[in-house]
Each structure stands twice: as structure tokens, then as C-alpha cells.
């Protein structure tokens, strides 16, 4: 057992936006299915950054995103027999990854439910402390001074379905048809869900701004 399926990455690069030609992906998939498993490495190389970023933005944790990315490619590899070439490989891997990330987030939510009470207590205590400090004249620093972090937090606060469409459209740049295939939704649902998500984000950002302005 020594065949290296995937060579080590030599250069870390962020591939934003550009997709490989679908025909090329199909050929690679066909080769992998025919037993030339080393070609799967190229598919991983092409999409791991985008898949990782998608998983990260959906689930909210870098470490979890890494695991989810691996899981997505592993599932894709193991399920290649079920892959239909009507849609591009990248659409398929995005679907696998998105579903995994959403499921993971839901599981994490349930798993942390038992800690919610304690978290609420801590939060209430923290907020109470902040209020007391403010009343005493202390200038309580914005706990999240970084704008990107604030926006990320607002994104993370969206419900899972809305967050997924925003990530796929506004971050990954996929079109409505692709998102429809990935999420298994009608195009009309994608459109309305995306719009509601943007409105929700807009509202949240306005509130943040108003709070910051005092």
C-alpha cells in the first residue's frame, strides 16, 4: 500500500471565482472511476480552497471546516459511482460539502444545547458587568472591533438555510441555477431565500451601526 493518492500541496493559493472547465473535470472523474485514483488529487487541488471556505463560512469554525472539507471529498470519492455528469463535479462536491456543513452545524447546535443555560448565565453576567461599567463612566471597548469579524458574526447568526445561500452566492459567486442544484431547491426558492437573507443581514448591520453610534 504505498500509492500516494494526493500529492502534497506545494503552494498555498486562494482560488477565488475561477472554475475549471467542466469537460476537464468529467475526464478526471472518468479516470478515477476507471481506477486511476491518483487523478482525484487534481480534483481536490482545484476545489479544496473553495470548499474549505464554504464550509468555514457555513459552520463558523476553521478546524471544523477542515474536517468537513476532508469529509466532503472523502464522501465524493466513495460516492463517485453515484455521480451524474449532468451537473459539474464542482456542483456536486459543493452539494456534498454544503449538506455536511449544514448538518454539522445543526448537530453542533443540539450538542451545545445543554450548555446554553450556562452560556446564558455567563452572558447575562457579562452584560450586567458591562452595563455597570458603562454606568460608572467606563468606556467599554467594542468586544469585536474588527469589522470583518462583526460581519462574519452577523452572517453566522443567520439561520442555516439563509446562510448557505448567501455563502454560495455572495461569497462563492455561484449563480442561481448552480445554487439550486447544490441545495436541491427550485430557483424561485433560491431567489426569495437569498433576498430574505440579505434583508436580514441589512437589518442586523443597521442595528449594529445604530448601536455603535450610541
Amino acid at each position: 500500500m504505498g500509492t500516494t493518492l494526493i500529492p502534497e500541496r506545494q503552494n498555498a493559493s486562494i482560488e477565488a471565482g475561477a472554475c475549471e472547465l467542466p469537460v476537464d473535470d468529467h475526464r478526471l472523474v472518468a479516470q478515477v472511476k476507471a481506477g486511476q485514483t491518483q487523478h482525484f488529487a487534481e480534483l481536490v487541488r482545484r476545489y479544496q480552497d473553495r470548499i474549505f471556505n464554504t464550509c468555514w463560512r457555513i459552520c463558523g469554525h476553521l478546524e471544523d471546516a477542515r474536517d468537513l472539507t476532508q469529509e466532503a471529498f472523502l464522501k465524493a470519492y466513495q460516492g463517485l459511482d453515484n455521480y451524474r455528469q449532468e451537473s459539474g463535479f464542482y456542483t456536486w462536491i459543493f452539494r456534498v460539502a454544503t449538506n455536511l456543513a449544514i448538518s454539522h452545524r445543526r448537530s453542533a447546535k443540539r450538542a451545545s444545547a445543554m450548555l446554553d443555560h450556562q452560556a446564558r448565565v455567563f452572558r447575562n453576567q457579562a452584560e450586567s458587568l458591562v452595563r455597570k461599567m458603562e454606568q460608572s463612566g467606563f468606556d467599554v471597548a467594542d468586544p469585536m472591533p474588527d469589522a470583518a469579524a462583526r460581519v462574519a458574526a452577523l452572517l453566522h447568526a443567520l439561520d442555516d438555510e439563509q446562510r448557505a445561500v448567501v455563502v454560495l452566492r455572495d461569497i462563492e459567486g455561484l449563480d442561481y441555477q448552480q445554487i439550486s442544484e447544490i441545495l436541491g431547491l427550485p430557483a424561485g426558492t433560491v431567489k426569495s431565500r437569498l433576498h430574505r437573507a440579505r434583508l436580514a443581514l441589512r437589518e442586523a448591520m443597521l442595528k449594529e451601526t445604530q448601536k455603535a453610534q450610541g
Binding site: 500509492t3 502534497e8 474549505f52 461569497i171 459567486g173 434583508l199 443581514l201 441589512r202
Partner: protein
């Protein structure tokens, strides 16, 4: 033109922003933008929102992601290859399909030649012809991934296994195929990698200490019975785990000590031994809670906080409940003190006095026992994995939140048991069965040890699929 509803126009603005409108819709939007300041304002706000979100920093995949994925894919290959070797090929190629078809049509010579050829191939690769034969090597691949049976049966098995682990043998494969048993598996799900590492390290250190003490007692000539022996074999990072992010610790307990533990627990109970059902497997929430409580203590002692989830999956059956013994073993290894902290979850987790069970729990068990149908108690045959699986529905009221990770694992384990025991007819019952998931004599194998694999993993890393095929017929 019909006046557009605000919501429809609003949605069209988003789609217009994304250039996802047809000509008709585009005309509608542009007309609205010319005449409606509100529409222009909303479009600007949407554009700003999209701009902010799309400007969020991107993160490249970690450079070690691909190598780790490679390791996982290699492991997947390893298990697939082994599974295929265990059973005759199922028409995976047209050639095999032709040969089987030829055999069915009565081409005896061809089929016989094929059969003999396979036998010869298996002999040369060391794959068992007759898994039940104790002298048969389960598997001896050229890359030495598996402990030969004679090694597994020797008293130096833990040491040999340690060497093999160091060389890269997967502990799950090692246990399943070498010690002729399914490992008892406990999975601890940590919230973060740091927590996972701390839990695994703490657990390993405690096992090492117990192991040292046990060896010292053996050297002193004391009976093994008086010590909880645990030979731990720590999984190595470069071993092909199902999930390379998991940390595994394999614990092997001499059979004599395991039985002793069971006897201590059962003898102190007013419940008859053959009806005793402490369910620490996947079918019993109380057992899970007990396991969770122990592991929470371990993590609290290490200061890392409680794990988010625990799944205890014993996977094999016996006429006695070994689950309690398992938890006692872990408890003692962890150096826990008798505590009422677990009182609400189950109170058999006592180190100092393993012969008694909290009266509340006894009462609860007696209530449970008294509600069982006559056909379900008294006989080891009644205590089957299948019965346990069937009783799940009756216990759902006690089960964790539906759809939870634990619940899904309950279903998965139950399904696996159902697959492994297809011939068992579900007992006719109207009440929960006195099921137990314990260790069978098979689990001890020839080596006299029982093996537990404790996995420390992350939420999304699923435990390996259990191989329901047994090495022994």
C-alpha cells in the same frame, strides 16, 4: 401593467443585482428604479450588503488537508480490500460474474478450478479459509498490517500489538481481525481539537499509571484478580484511523478481571444475575449517561470541560452485563473517587465499593425488570442485540432529543445489530425488553483479553462503520 407587490419587486431587486432577471423583469425593475425612490434606496442597501459580505476574507485550505485526506482515502482502500477478501466477489467484474454463472449452469470443472484457485490464493496470502479455525491467521498482508493470531493469543500480545501500532497498524483493524473479536468502542466527541487532545492525553496518562501499578502488583506476586489490569495501546498519529483527527486508545483487560468486575457488581444486586441489565450500550440512555459522567469527570479533572457527546457502543452480546464492568474499569483507571455526583445519572460508578448499587437505581431496575414480559427474562437468548434494538422504540421517551447525534448512533447501532442477527425473530413483547449489550465469550477471543477502543474525536468525524461480519462462523 399590473402594479407589482412590494415583496415581488423587492425580490426582483436582489435578482437584478445578481443579473438573474429576464428581459421582462429587468424592464419592471428599471421602471421602478426610475419612479420609486424607495426602490433605489433598497437597491443601494442591498448592493452595500452584498459588497460587505463578498469582501469577507477568504481562507485557503490548510496545507496538510490534502495529505491527511490521502491517509483517509488509503484507509478506505484498506478496509474495502479486506471486506472484499472476506466474501466472495459479488460480480464486481464481468469475469467473476461469468464464472459464477458458469458454475450455476453446471460447469463443475471450471467452478472447481476457480474454487481451488481461490483457496490457493488465500493460503498464500494468509487469509482465513475457515475463520473459525483457531490456528488460522486472519490476515497476513505483506505490509504486516495485522497481528498474527499466534501473537494475539500470547501473553505478550499487548507488547507485540504496541510494536505493530508503532509501525502503522490501525488499532481498529488490529483488534477486529487479530484478536478475533469486535472491540468495544467508546467514542468521546470533543468540541475542539485542543479539548480532544487533552482528553486523550489525560486518559492515556491515567491508563499508563494503572498499567504500571498493575505490572508492579503482578511482579509482587499478587493475584491478578486484585488489580484492574489495563494494557493500553495508544494509537499513533500516523496510523490509518478512519479519521486521522481522532485519538484512539486501546485498552485490553484480562478476561479474569472483567468477569470479576461483573461478579462484584451483580452479586451486590438484588436483581438475579440472569436478569441483570445494566445497559451501557447504545440502547440505554442511563448507561450512556453513566459513561458520559465518567468521561466528564475525566475531562473536568483535566480542566478541559465536559465533552459534548458520548456514544458507548459495545456491539457484542453476552449473558451477563459487562457494561458495568467496563464503566468501573474506566472509572478506576481514571482514578475517580466515589461520588454522588452521578447520582441523577446512575450510581454504579463507584470505585471503593463495587459490590453495591445505589438503592434508587436498584429500585429503578427492579421496576424495569418487573415490567418485562416473561419471555424476555431469564434466558441469555432473550438478551439479544435484536431485542435491544427493538426495545429502542419503547425507550424513546427516555432517549435524547430526536435526531440528535446520539440518537442517530442508536439507530445505526441498532440497524447494524439487526443486520448481524437477521435470523432472530423479534420477541413478542409489549414492554421494554431486559436487553443488555455486553461482551460475549467471542469478544475475549483466544487471548483471554477483552479490548476496548476509546476514541476521542470531533463532532463531525463519524466513527468507523462497524463490520458486522464476524471472523468466526
Amino acid at each position: 401593467m399590473r402594479k407589482m407587490l412590494n415583496q415581488e419587486l423587492s425580490e426582483l431587486l436582489s435578482a437584478y443585482l445578481d443579473n438573474e432577471v429576464d428581459d421582462r423583469e429587468k424592464t419592471i425593475v428599471e421602471n421602478a428604479l426610475r419612479s420609486d425612490p424607495g426602490a433605489r434606496k433598497l437597491l443601494d442597501e442591498l448592493r452595500q450588503t452584498v459588497s460587505v459580505v463578498s469582501s469577507l476574507p477568504r481562507h485557503a485550505a490548510p496545507p496538510d488537508l490534502a495529505p491527511e485526506l490521502n491517509a483517509r482515502l488509503e484507509r478506505a482502500h484498506l478496509l474495502v480490500e479486506f471486506d472484499q477478501q472476506k466474501a466472495p466477489p459479488q460480480g464486481t467484474s464481468s469475469w467473476h460474474g461469468y464464472l459464477r454463472a458458469a458454475a450455476m449452469l453446471g460447469f463443475v470443472l471450471v467452478a472447481g478450478w476457480w474454487f481451488l484457485a481461490r483457496q490457493q490464493e488465500r493460503k498464500s496470502t494468509g487469509i482465513a479459509l475457515s475463520p473459525a479455525s483457531p490456528s488460522t491467521v486472519i490476515r497476513e498482508a505483506t505490509d504486516s498490517k495485522v497481528v498474527p493470531a499466534e501473537t494475539a493469543r500470547s501473553t505478550s500480545a499487548p507488547i507485540e500489538a504496541e510494536k505493530l501500532l508503532s509501525s502503522g497498524t490501525d488499532p481498529v483493524v488490529l483488534v477486529r481481525h487479530s484478536f478475533e473479536a469486535e472491540p468495544v468502542r467508546i467514542r468521546v466527541t470533543a468540541r475542539t481539537a485542543g479539548e480532544r487532545d487533552m482528553l486523550a492525553r489525560n486518559f492515556t496518562q491515567q491508563l499508563a499509571q494503572a498499567n504500571t501499578e498493575n505490572l508492579a502488583q503482578q511482579k509482587a506476586g499478587r493475584e491478578q484478580k486484585k488489580a484492574i489490569g489495563a494494557f493500553y495501546l495508544e494509537g499513533k498519529p500516523d496510523v490509518n484511523f478512519t479519521n486521522p483527527h481522532d485519538k484512539q486508545v486501546m485498552v485490553r483487560i484480562p478476561r479474569s478481571q472483567a468477569d470479576q468486575l461483573v461478579e462484584q457488581v451483580v452479586s451486590g444486586s438484588t436483581i438475579p444475575a440472569d436478569q441483570f441489565a445494566f445497559q451501557a450500550g447504545t440502547q440505554n440512555v442511563k448507561g450512556q449517561d453513566n459513561a458520559k459522567a465518567i468521561l466528564q469527570s475525566i475531562s473536568q479533572n483535566s480542566g478541559s470541560g465536559p465533552p459534548t457527546d458520548v456514544v458507548a457502543d459495545a456491539g457484542v452480546m453476552s449473558k451477563k452485563s459487562m457494561s458495568t464492568g467496563l464503566l468501573h474499569t474506566l472509572e478506576e483507571i481514571a482514578g475517580l473517587q466515589p461520588s454522588k455526583d452521578y447520582g441523577s445519572l446512575g450510581t454504579t460508578n463507584r470505585v471503593a465499593d463495587t459490590s453495591k448499587i445505589d438503592s434508587d437505581e436498584v429500585a429503578a431496575m427492579k421496576d424495569s425488570a418487573s415490567s418485562r414480559s416473561a419471555a424476555e427474562v431469564g434466558s441469555p437468548a432473550a438478551l439479544t442485540a435484536d431485542a435491544a434494538m427493538k426495545s429502542k422504540s419503547a425507550e424513546e421517551a427516555q432517549s435524547p432529543e430526536p435526531g440528535s447525534l446520539v440518537d442517530r448512533k442508536l439507530e445505526a447501532a441498532g440497524a447494524r445489530h439487526a443486520e448481524a442477527e437477521p435470523s432472530r425473530a423479534p420477541p413478542a413483547r409489549s414492554k421494554p425488553a431486559a436487553s443488555s449489550i455486553t461482551f460475549s465469550s467471542d469478544a475475549f477471543g483466544q487471548s483471554g483479553f477483552i479490548t476496548i477502543v476509546v476514541e476521542f474525536g470531533l463532532p463531525n468525524s463519524a466513527p468507523p462503520k462497524k463490520d458486522t461480519g464476524r471472523m468466526r462462523s
